[in-house]
Assembly symmetry: C2
Homo-oligomer: 140 residues x 2
DNA sequence: CCTAACCTTTACGTTAAGGTTAAAGGCCCT
DNA sequence: AGGGCCTTTAACCTTAACGTAAAGGTTAGG
């Protein structure tokens, strides 16, 4: 068999990944992925030999973690967001709290987007000033 | 005299802030502000008694630092961005580099905005599913 | 002038998020 | 069955970004 990047489980037809697969795909260290597991952000199943085996769902979750990181969320905050994702679909109260939490987070995200746009404008203006100045210097 | 939040310098008519003013306004610790100074991200002048005195420019800079932080930039990266701001206006080569750097950063910012919008959509969808589910549970 | 409430520096402590290394064992190829 | 490369856990190390405490100087109000 070829050096597999994905692995099909015969019975279930599910696709699985090794830790190295994901590390490569998302350009993150294996240590980091294991660390996220220590923090209960992700919980892959194991093979007979105790190797970690990641499902598509696990993979999506890892992507979410890394995305969160890029916005400066701490792992604890990311854990909260994941909790929002994992709410029990039969618990009305949990669902209500999750909705509330989600609304708050969305507000948060919008604030960040706004701020980023402000920053973008600032940098665009500065860039313009620099270009003007450069032209002037070169004219002489 | 009242407990001043701002202070006008008689001669220059400039507005100054104490470290506590800024800490309060931006909801950050005084220690953090001093730490940014250690890292040369900000350089307030001093009073006779060696107290830090922040100008409007210093204040804007602090705001920029904190904004950067919220996007997950490290202080080192923020220092780079600030360098872009502080370029010598008479050095053509520096200006060119600053323009290039700025363009790169702007691309960076746009990527982040896109990703944030993706995340927002994901959360909106999930929120919708949760609301639907809640209605269903309550109908019964 | 006193005092409370600021501020200063110095130094050491802490926390988050991993990196690194070691020892032991699993997996695949021939 | 052996060799080479993978994986596992455990333990300790590192760095960034502060927190906290000590020891003392400064300033505004009474």
């Amino acid at each position: 068999m070829k050096k597999q990047e994905k692995q099909k489980d015969q019975e279930s037809q599910e696709t699985f990944y090794t830790i190295a697969d994901l590390a490569r795909e998302f350009d993150v260290s294996k240590r980091s992925i294991r660390f996220y597991e220590e923090k209960n952000l992700i919980s892959p199943r194991r093979t007979k030999g105790n190797y970690r085996l990641y499902s598509k769902r696990d993979r999506r979750r890892l992507r979410l973690i890394l995305r969160g990181k890029r916005f400066g969320y701490t792992l604890d905050e990311i854990a909260e967001i994941i909790g929002f994702n994992d709410v029990d679909f039969d618990e009305k109260d949990q669902i209500r709290k999750a909705i509330e939490f989600g609304a708050k987070k969305i507000g948060d995200i919008r604030d960040r987007i706004n701020e980023l746009q402000l920053l973008e404008n600032e940098m665009l203006e500065l860039g313009q000033r620099l270009r003007d100045r450069l032209l002037e210097l070169e004219k002489k």
